[in-house]
């Protein structure tokens, strides 16, 4: 079973490397949106410092939504998804492996580049770690919740718009807690509480979302 999960992750990463434009689109979107804000808002360091966590978090949320539709779409189109449904591994585990691969491709790069982007906002350097950590805990939750939406809307016409409508309300708590962590840190309150909450959300979503997505996939493929 582990061989199958490793194979799914390896395959998705290999496909991402061979079709790197998809990955770069998401990353570029994130970089551009975040970089436009200091230009639009003007050079007021105090204001920029205040809005930094919110802007970076909103951009990360939009970027991860941009990547969601692709999570199952190509496997659905070419029949690989049927083979996963009929595989020897429980479908929930396969979905978890796919979500992990999806996060490595579209979430991890955002986490790694966020400290660099935060410098544009004159964000306190000693707190860059808190910001990156909040994204590192939060973006996998976005991928996990998004997997349920992507599975439910698979194969539908206008799936993109429907997917956003389904998933956005569920993203809001993650956004509030995630951005709140960095904000609390800048105002001297530490932000530990928010990070712990994000960690709890991640464990909860990691345990349940893959199975919910698996059920949704079975319905979509019928």
């Amino acid at each position: 079973m582990l061989a199958a999960l490793r194979c799914v992750i390896h395959r998705d990463l290999l496909l991402a490397v061979r079709r790197s434009s998809d990955v770069l689109t998401v990353l570029l979107f994130f970089v551009i949106v975040v970089s436009l804000f200091p230009l639009g808002v003007g050079p007021d360091p105090a204001l920029l410092r205040t809005i930094a966590p919110g802007v970076i978090w909103v951009a990360a949320l939009l970027a991860s939504m941009l990547a969601l539709q692709r999570m199952f779409a190509s496997d659905y189109a070419d029949g690989t998804l049927e083979q996963m449904l009929l595989g020897a591994t429980p479908l929930g585990m396969t979905v978890a492996a796919k979500v992990l691969a999806h996060w490595l491709i579209s979430g991890l790069p955002l986490v790694l580049i966020s400290p660099v982007l935060a410098l544009q906002f004159d964000f306190p350097q000693e707190l860059l770690g808190v910001l990156a950590l909040s994204l590192a805990l939060g973006t996998p939750v976005l991928s996990l919740i998004g997997a349920i939406g992507a599975a439910l809307t698979l194969g539908l016409r206008g799936a993109g718009a429907l997917l956003s409508l389904l998933v956005l309300p569920l993203y809001v708590p993650v956004l509030i807690i995630g951005a709140g962590a960095a904000e609390a840190a800048t105002s001297g309150m530490g932000g530990h509480a928010q990070l712990l909450l994000l960690g709890a959300l991640l464990i909860f979503a990691g345990a349940f979302a893959p199975w919910a997505a698996a059920v949704a996939l079975r319905i979509s493929v019928e």
């Binding site: 290999l14 496909l15 049927e82 020897a88 429980p90």
Partner: protein
Amino acid sequence: MGKKAGTPSLEALDLHCVRGERKLFGALNFTLRGGGLLRIAGANGSGKTSLLRIACGLLEPTRGEVRWGGENIQRLQEEFWRQLVYIGHANAIKDDLTAAENLHVACTLAGVPRRPARIGEALRRLGLAGSENLPARVLSQGQRRRTALARLALSEGIPLWILDEPFAALDAAAVEDVRGLIAEHLSRGAAVILTTHLEAKITTAAALRIDLEAA
């Protein structure tokens, strides 16, 4: 596993299938034992693919059930799927992977990882010598179908094959290759279900045929 006496039998009990508003078939019964070949015939749109998808558990029948060794397949789930090879209309081939990588992924997902040497051998058996390491993007439709079917050459231990139009897009030589694989598998005591427009021309002791228009 195939040589083991008594491959479990696949039974369909009173299957009904309604898709949308249309009734495709009703009150369908069959029992397929080890060594048996079931050929499903019928015009386009008569429900051949739906029947296959019901038989492998991708689709739930409107009424009735499918049993494997006496147990409902919807309850067996992975236990049944481990003993099944389903090759559908879609080839499950990724354009950006090579033929060998595609076959490796297909076997691993099915829970029977194979060594590269065996994968190369299977591809050569299906007439893909020299194309093993080409990305599937540059392969023709027939070559992609061959890549998907090469999995059969690596699934000798799996007691049930369900094949949807296995001969579609294949040339005469490849059709013979696939027929050979199926005949070999039947002689090992395994069961095969297929749909095809060609006469199957596979001689076996236990050949069944279901005509969906007649049903």
